[in-house]
Symmetry: C2
Subunit: 211 residues, 2 copies
DNA sequence: TAGATTGTTAATCGATTAACAATC
DNA sequence: TAGATTGTTAATCGATTAACAATC
């Protein structure tokens, strides 16, 4: 049962709800009204109620929301109760950082292999992973149950790797290459584009300095 | 002369225009119409014309846009012709990756110092930088001309560091800590929240699998 | 019960798209 | 000139906010 059309604007607010609810939970806050939450999270109370009601009536009139229950519900909505098997492609600086990134496991993602195209890297170890040859990634995805690929390679090779992954049956890509990958519409791509973020910062800095 | 109110939606599309125009330029394409650009970038032609006209009339009726000129103009709008002096705080995996990230210099950002709180890290070298003690960051910002700080530390210490930076007169923060920093409204904060990105991917994967 | 706060409908606002006169 | 395409105004669409009846 996929949900009726939830807009990306709503979806991208969900992790924020989850995070603020976890904070409240760690402070032993039992319940919270949309008004109180609005004050700490910075969305309007109205928006909070609208957002949550896309997924169900989690609150109670006159009471508000139970923090623990809501936190758990949003976790479920985000799919954090699931396990996804991931491979990482591109064991450069960023790739290594992500391999060691613990938030990854907390979200239910488990890295099962690491690949690189550089012969000097192949065979070296990152955490428990012996770096494998990128040439074998298609075969590996075919023969193992891989849900997502984390793509951390320069933009030149990225589309080619994406094509391989798609052929091998990958379901999602967490893409750090500064390029818009072209994939069939049933493959999920979530981009983290540091260049775009940096350019945005540059723009805002410039505007701010000029007044 | 700051621009009339440009929405964030428009601003976040600018880096994409810049990137696609660079691609066209590298393919020696001289001119392009909003319709042609729309086909490769995936925005509507109407939106492209609206977006660009926020900043000036860069096109010519009956002709379209000169690729090189437009690319250059957007670079200027993004402030890529400027120099910003940056420090990096938190020399862990991600911090090291960013220190070595070349796109950074291409955008006009120059790293001038690297800090870490871990005594075992202090004194070690990353690229040309001897890692300095985070305790000295406030003093350093005060005494040197620092425009932005790249914050790559765990969320616990992040607000405290941000407070120090603000006191010392920082103008912008590129924030990788998974927390919403509270800073005065004249300080620019650009967030890169890997956890939120990952949770979004998890949500979309789940929805996709469930149909 | 009275007070509080949700869930939900209606109103507003802003962003996107369509249309077309201006003009190269 | 005729054709193409912009710049810009108007129309549409979608997202946010306001309002309030339902109800705990």
């Amino acid at each position: 049962m996929g949900n009726k059309n939830i807009s990306m604007a709503v979806i991208r607010r969900l992790p924020k709800y989850y995070r603020y609810l976890a904070d409240l939970l760690s402070k032993d806050v039992q319940r919270i009204s949309s008004k109180e939450l609005s004050e700490i999270i910075g969305f309007t109370a109205s928006q909070i109620r609208q957002d949550l009601n896309n997924f169900g009536g989690f609150g109670q009139q006159g009471y508000g929301y139970n923090v623990e229950a809501l936190h758990k519900e949003i976790g479920k909505i985000l799919g954090l109760d699931r396990k996804y098997r991931a491979i990482l492609i591109g064991a450069g600086n960023l790739g290594q950082a992500l391999t060691n990134y613990t938030g990854f496991r907390l979200a239910g993602f488990e890295t099962i292999a690491v690949f690189d195209a550089n012969p000097k890297m192949i065979g070296l170890k990152i955490r428990d992973f012996e770096i494998m040859d990128s040439d074998n990634v298609e075969e590996f995805v075919r023969e193992n149950d891989v849900d997502i690929a984390i793509v951390c390679i320069p933009k030149n090779g990225a589309q080619l790797v994406a094509d391989k992954l798609v052929r091998a049956g990958i379901k999602g890509i967490w893409n750090f290459a500064p390029i818009d990958l072209e994939v069939p519409s049933d493959i999920i791509v979530e981009n983290v584009n540091l260049t775009e973020s940096l350019f945005t910062l540059s723009y805002l800095m410039k505007e701010n300095l000029e007044g």
